[in-house]
Symmetry: C2
Subunit: 856 residues, 2 copies
């Protein structure tokens, strides 16, 4: 049988023998006292599982006469799990006798009993009730024989063979497979097994076992934690907390440090060696056998996102790893979580409903059912959670005021989800087990229980849960470690990151998170404020151009002010403003009551309002009269917006603020659309220049979001200073798939692997990606210096960022709260590309420093 | 000044001197007695218009002492028009005197007066009222001098110069320009002018003028028609019908044939020579001057579509032109018009409303406002016209029963228009001046007049008009000439033509029009029959799979029968059936009343029906849960359809009918969708094979209508026997433009040349076309023998057919009524590609035959 004794020089590889095997080899290379271990590679374990028989004698010879061993799993990545460790293999009457000489008879017999029981339950899969702790060896052997109809195996080779086969088969079981696949393991992930000479924590002299680590798992700060238990094996010290003692001096006065100061000092030294050698904070499993220290196993300290960031920064600051390497230690997604307060993982939670985790963070407040109610609550200083069947653009004002949003319908890219991420508001969508009645203002839970307005709930946006009552939360982790880390990321990244921002508040968030500018400002959201909505509706109802122009003239100062605020916050950084995009009917009331109110306000008959609303209704509004089509056919709207942008620029200049406006035309499908709008914008710029006498610069560009625009981007580039790919709409049109409607079958599609992933979440490189690629190539070949970017939701996804970077884009633009994650993803790409810098470090220096730090 | 005397060898070109100049040269080459003529090229006329002065003496020398000439326009194509001919230039006191010797004084003076008056009105642009026919020469000269403040020019050179300049300027006028551009002329189209020696139809001996042609302009049958008027000029014989005589023997006993038999015989001989030499039926303008015949001008006989077809066939049958050439003589669009009855062009018509000519043909009937009313009317044997604000899929039953459809909203590719073209039902859409109230069941006209149900109207689908009352119509022109012509087209064409067919009746039309098979059968239309709609709704409302399967089991025999009928009609020709495509909610009632009825029928509470309807409502149904997405997530529907297709195939075999089914999967965007459906269809085929014991063949293919499917057609081709490009949806998605909603701005877009044409009407070669091109190339490179086709509305457009042919597609599939037009377009492409066959004809033989035919 193929096996490999682990030594400093043995050819041990994580992708053949597993991560644990590799880790043990590293410990051995660091001269740490690891008991003899042999590794079975994935290949051998696979054969075992499919019934092959191996001769184990050669391996057992490795462990001497009467070998006593343990078997541990060793998957390629420790996250992927594996069957439980089996200890004490080789116990039988002979070995009891031999061991008794060393440990005393009682201890030896206890080990034998423990092995019989664990073998019966874990390997032979017998009922645990038949093997109570109070059993004698004889009783256990009898119980085994009754169940299996064979005597308990006493041959070591048979014992080991069965243990290995049992573990190999457990790995192939369906539930184990699903579990690890959920963690990202491939379907054919292999398992290695490690056979290790037992280091007994039992017997004469100080014997026992323990676990030690050198950082706090929640905060990441240096702190020695762990437990030690005399006369124990494996991880019993953690399992039996009552009997175990602390490692460092404790008020209770009983600690390993005091009881075994030399052992403690050795542990500290080994810990520092391990941290330095493995370049990671490790949790070490150790055993004392008659005072002699063995290192049985080491694994990466399990930790929260916050601790992970700090550990990475500390390791780099301590010169254990280069900063580039530190950047690779944090997942971009985890970084995003740090930006929000979160539900305390230790707080008790009663889950009322589960949905899609659409925007992370925690929020507690009273239920409200409408945007108006949210505004009222906010005005009274009351925290509220907006609960809707689904959200529409009319709810945006409410979403600004609510602390969280919960919807019954919608997917990860639904309107509510996109807006919430932009606002940084925790959001759970598609909680289909609840039934929201907007009419009765109630939420019916799956249990039949009814909640009403005013009932308090907490949203866990990261987990996608609605919880009963106020649940304890932990604050956002924006500290020096975060700032340091982001500084490194900014230095490393070679593709820019901007933010999609619709308001002054969001712009401030974007600036705080280090965005390079605003990549997409959706101006339509600015028209939903109450005072503006009325004017907007007057504009829409205008029969004559002159009436329309009048209404727009009243909107002009408001828009100008919007833009001034953005310019002020982003001072010096570019602000890309997308001209008005949505269909007009989104601004009209959808309820009977709304129509009646509007009719009163405008002094029009209800029938006329209804007729107008109806005439604006479209079969497929996504594909209707919106974007540049409105711009071409109702020129006054874009003209007003251009004037507002230019006047704001001029006013900023007077106030010493440096405005860098970029104007972006949405929904283009043919080059002529750009030409038509370009001419009008240029004329407006000239007019404002003449009126004010002030010189100013601006850029004009195009949002490429129809497949045709992508194909024709060569033409379009002739009239555009920049092109930004709107991959939300582009994905919709390339697939012929509305993201608002996709929720009804997306689950089934992804589950059946018809789509490998939701294309609104992960950029579809094969289809949409080809359009991006053609688009970039054609635009660049027509205009070499054109600025290219992406501003869809995908801009926050690391894979998509990698793809955009490979196309030579200049920047990505995402929700403000995703800016740090995207920046990190961009940095990681650059770091991986150039290879991790292998600095010549002064080993002795760093090592001394490491020991010092741990001792502190 | 550049001018070119027209002779047999002069370098005269239609694109330099105009079509009339070229035609006259041809007559001269045929040795016909054409008076001396010189041609001014476009270039010279253009200079004249911009004010250049030319010395005309050299030209006038050409016409001898005291020249008398006419000037005629000669545009590149005679259709493009031009200013009116001016006669008798050169008349002045001297020429009167000279001419009087030949024609007598009265005639000479009459000509002088006529010239003064025509010069005053047409060249000097004076008021016609100042120059009544009763005037004397003196009065006319005085009137001229008063208005112009200069004496009337007597210098020939001045007269000619002013006439030429005036005609050159008229050509540059805005209205003339718009008029010819509407007929397809380019913006810079040139005008040539012809200066011709006057052949006077006045004077001693038999003098006069006339017009002759050799076919009936309406029917195209050989028939000598025309008029002759003694002592007249130009086309006066036609203008003064009362005084003119017929050419052939007439009951009134006064004809040219009797009065001047030799001249008549010469005319017949010249006519035959002309027909043969110019290879066309010409209308000839001739003059007798003291018994001497001159041919002044010849132009293509103006004719209706019907006559044009017959003339082309006759010319080919008479060996005047090859059949390939005959194919080029008929416009595909004109052919389509022949398939329908049409409003008699001579009948008086009172236009009630004008809209978009969406489907040609004439229909008279009583107004009905609903599908149900149409069905009731049809059941009572009453002709009816369905009038709607716009149509939806629910109206299809009504459209089958109505003779015509009129809608207030919608464009050329709106639902109503597409269906109507498929059914061959005359249809006018987007008649925005009317106001249809579905509630009151009234149509309000622009005048305020109200029409109600039962009022009789006539639709002229070709003109896009709704007319008051019953207007006389002419029958469809499907005769032997049509059949002969289509036979030639089929032989010539090298790309197939199939029909888009949804019902047995349409299949019969397709077969009659010679379709190569059915390229697209939209099965969903089959579910709108009353009995089926109910079962369909039960299927949609099914909570359990078993209920759904039960409802579908009841639809199975109906579907099987649908397919059998199609197979029977198309016996042996392929029938491509598209699996169910639309979103389910299209089958649910949209009105309150409909919901109530359905609730009663299904014994469900109204609230439940409403909830279900609401839950199926989508924001953008075009991009929602439909097509293969339904097929993947609700497998039972496709399984039922596949079973129906296979069982129908088996039953046909037993009855000796050869069914050739092709199954097409709609709305694919990823290859996995095809794989999933393919597996299920294959399983169903195997099941039916086992159950019946009968072997049968079928093909499985994909409708490529999303941009992504086009890009990934290489993948898709691995699982598809054929690919058909659905360019309607593909255009929608490539532009991000819903054709149902595009009507609101398409007019403005085309008018402003933002889109050069409506992309739903003319295939967008630059954008959608690139996707077709990539799609074909990738599919072929993966599967060389794959069948490629297009089945969108574009398939009926000659330009689009040309493009599809250039991509190597195997066939196009269009509405049945467009099959002949598409076939002709395909034939013309092939003919143009190989060059017109230059047959070595026996000139003497054909010429003899030509003379004979004319004499008949």
């Amino acid at each position: 049988m193929i096996f490999e004794p682990i030594s400093q020089t043995a050819p041990i590889h994580a992708d053949e023998h597993g991560a644990r095997a590799k880790c043990l080899q590293r410990l051995i290379r660091l001269d740490m006292p690891v008991p003899d271990t042999v590794a079975l590679p994935f290949e051998a374990v696979r054969k075992l599982a499919s019934g092959a028989e191996f001769d184990l004698n050669e391996m057992l010879d490795h462990f001497g006469e009467l070998p006593l061993v343990s078997v541990r799993p060793s998957a390629q990545t420790s996250d992927w799990g594996g069957p439980g460790t089996v200890l004490n293999i080789g116990m039988n009457p002979q070995s009891v006798e031999k061991l008794a000489k060393k440990t005393g008879k009682a201890a030896a017999e206890a080990l034998y009993l423990r092995f019989i029981q664990s073998y019966a339950i874990d390997v032979a899969r017998l009922d645990a009730e038949e093997f109570p702790p109070s059993q004698t060896i004889k009783e256990a052997l009898a119980a085994y024989e009754i169940e299996v109809e064979e005597p308990f195996p006493t041959d070591v080779s048979v014992q080991l063979s069965e243990v290995l086969r049992s573990m190999a088969r457990a790995w192939e079981g369906t539930s184990a497979r699903l579990l690890r696949q959920a963690k990202g393991a491939p379907a054919d992930a292999g398992l290695g097994l490690l056979v290790q000479r037992m280091a007994f924590g039992l017997g004469q002299g100080e014997s026992g076992s323990g676990v030690i680590q050198f950082v706090n798992a929640e905060t990441g700060e240096p702190q020695i934690t762990g437990r030690y238990l005399s006369q124990s094996q494996g991880r019993e010290a953690l399992a039996e907390a009552d009997r175990a003692i602390y490692l460092t001096k404790d008020e209770r006065g009983s600690s390993l440090e005091e009881r075994e100061p030399e052992t403690f000092a050795a542990l500290i030294e080994q810990g520092a060696r391990c941290r330095f050698g493995l370049r990671e904070e490790m949790q070490i499993e150790f055993t004392l056998e008659d005072g002699e220290l063995s290192m049985i196993d080491a694994l990466r300290v399990p930790r929260g996102a916050f601790a992970n960031l700090r550990i990475a920064v500390d390791l780099a600051n301590d010169d254990v790893i280069p900063t580039d390497h530190a950047l690779l230690r944090v997942e971009p997604q985890a970084l995003t979580e740090l930006l929000h307060p979160r539900v305390d993982p230790d707080a008790p939670r009663e889950i009322l409903a589960t949905g899609i985790a659409a925007s992370p963070g925690a929020a507690t407040g009273k239920i409200v059912f409408s945007a108006t109610a949210a505004q009222t609550a906010a005005a009274q200083g009351e925290a509220c959670i907006l609960v809707r069947a689904e959200t529409s653009t009319e709810d945006i004002r409410g979403m600004h005021e609510a602390l969280g949003v919960l919807t019954e319908r919608g997917g990860i890219t639904s309107h509510a989800a996109v807006i919430a991420r932009g606002l940084g508001v925790p959001c759970v969508v598609g909680a289909s087990s609840i039934n929201v009645s907007m009419k009765d203002k109630t939420v019916e839970l799956e249990t039949g229980e009814i909640l009403g307005a005013g009932d308090v709930i907490t949203l866990d946006g990261a987990a996608g849960q609605a919880l009963r009552g106020a649940v304890a939360t932990l604050p956002a982790a924006l500290n020096d470690y975060f700032t340091t880390f982001m500084g490194w990321a900014e230095t490393a990244a070679d593709i820019g990151v901007r933010a999609n921002v619709d308001s002054e508040g969001e712009a401030e968030v974007a600036r705080r998170f280090g965005a390079d500018g605003i990549g997409l400002c959706r101006t339509e959201h600015m028209f939903f404020e109450d005072d503006r909505l009325t004017v907007m509706r007057e504009m829409i109802f205008a029969d004559e151009t002159s009436d329309r122009t009048q209404a727009l003239a009243r909107l002009l100062p408001m828009q100008r002010n919007d833009f001034k605020e953005l310019f002020r916050v982003m001072d010096g950084k570019p602000v890309c403003i997308r001209l008005f995009d949505p269909p007009l009917h989104e601004f009209l009331p959808s309820s009977k009551n709304g129509v009646r109110k509007l009719a009163e306000a405008m002094d029009l008959p209800v029938s006329k309002v209804n007729a107008r609303v109806e005439s604006l209704t479209e079969f497929n509004p996504m594909l209707g009269l919106r974007g540049v089509r409105l711009g071409v056919t109702v020129p006054e709207i874009y003209e007003m917006q251009a004037r507002a942008i230019f006047e704001a620029t001029v006013e900023c200049k007077a106030e010493g603020i440096h405005a860098a406006p970029e104007i972006m035309i949405p929904l283009v499908s043919v080059m002529r659309e750009v030409e038509v709008i370009q001419a009008r914008i240029e004329a407006m710029a000239a007019a404002v220049h003449v009126e004010s006498g002030v010189e100013f610069d601006y850029k004009l560009g195009v949002m490429v979001e129809t497949p045709r625009a992508a194909l024709r981007s060569g033409d379009i580039a002739k009239h555009a200073g920049f092109i930004s790919f709107g991959t939300n709409d582009l994905t919709q049109m390339t697939y012929g798939l509305s993201r608002d409607d996709a929720g009804r079958f997306m689950g089934a599609y992804v589950a059946q692997n018809v789509y490998p992933e939701d294309p609104f979440h992960t950029l579809d490189v094969e289809g949409v990606g080809e359009l991006l690629s053609l688009g970039c190539e054609r635009a660049r070949s027509e205009s070499e210096g054109i600025t290219l970017s992406i501003c869809g939701e995908h801009a926050g996804n690391p894979d998509s960022i990698a793809y955009c970077r490979s196309l030579g884009m200049n920047y990505v633009s995402c929700s403000p709260y995703r800016v740090p994650g995207s920046r990190l993803a961009a940095a990681q790409l650059a770091v991986r590309d150039k290879g991790i810098r292998k600095e010549k470090r002064s080993i002795s220096n760093s090592f001394r420093k490491a020991v010092e730090l741990i001792k502190r």
